[in-house]
Symmetry: none
Subunit: 161 residues, 2 copies
DNA sequence: ATATTTCTGCGATATTTATGCAAAATTTGT
DNA sequence: ACAAATTTTGCATAAATATCGCAGAAATAT
């Protein structure tokens, strides 16, 4: 079920960034529509794991928000999916010793790095993002195929070196 | 009472930026201590008016946050000590070859890096800070225990891997 | 395969938060 | 200053959310 769970978490993020949802029951309905029926208890756990925040929109109505969203700015303006970014230009990964370099279209490094961080890949010690380049520091024992596989979940259509 | 209300709203903001509060009842207690007794109903309205958000800290515990706060970054006009930052979430150090990666709570990498720089640890050639990650480049001959000892003065409660 | 860990559902609550309504306080207009 | 209008508040209660114990399913590790 791991894969299903990860997908469900992604769907949750998509839903709350594409529309205003203010109650878990509403979110449950949307999830069911999207083919991920679940229960309120599980959703509550998911929201905590995603560090999703409950705030208010300009009208004072309650809305769920991703933590990196400031105020009521919708993520659709700023947070593109990697698929969307990929349309703008390739995202590539290259290795050197215990480092990996990810190239993104200009301006998108921070966002991709955020997704990589959130994938919690154990072999990745940390990332630092510039404008269109991300430096990834790997564990000394990291095996590149593994890292590449895990990265592929976050950064699809990656062009290996 | 309008004046009192405005003051109370300010006090609410002060409280939630100076400590982690996860429940309205707790916030009520703090308000009372500060000389602004109120009720849960009023507080709920105040929070909506302030557009205060309820999210989760690193440990998944619930916390109230100002909307303009990124993630769990706390407002601080003064430079927070690492001890203070540590309360917001662990600061950890990991090594890989000639590099060390320090993870901090979101938004605090620059502060911690500044402290590290100022410790003038000879084996540290330099640091680069992102939002929540610091890359440290070590001298080729650096010995990790030494570096860790020196770092511990700056970054207490460090968790080696 | 077997053991171990993680995840989920299912109630079943306990806890927390929001709100309708009426009263009290405050402001405004005259 | 008085009355009307507006805002604020408390109370009671509704609504929403978090959590618990537990059993079984699924994934991971040995």
């Amino acid at each position: 079920m791991r894969q299903d769970k990860d997908t469900r978490l992604e769907v949750i993020k998509m839903i709350i960034t594409s529309q205003e949802v203010g109650r878990q029951d509403d979110l449950l309905n949307e999830l069911a529509k999207a083919g991920f029926p679940s229960t309120q208890a599980t959703l509550s756990r998911d929201l905590r794991q995603l560090r999703i925040v409950k705030g208010h929109n300009e009208r004072g109505e309650q809305v769920y928000l991703l933590p990196e969203q400031k105020r009521y700015q919708r993520i659709s303006d700023t947070h593109m999916t990697v698929q969307q970014i990929n349309r703008l230009g390739a995202v590539s990964v290259k290795f050197s010793l215990n480092l990996a370099i990810v190239q993104t279209p200009p301006g998108h490094a921070a966002h991709v790095a955020y997704d990589i961080d959130n994938a919690h890949i154990p072999e990745i010690l940390g990332t630092i993002a510039g404008d269109d380049t991300i430096l990834i520091v790997l564990d000394e024992t990291a095996e590149r195929p593994n890292v590449l596989n895990r990265l592929a979940e976050v950064v699809p259509e990656t062009r290996k070196e």
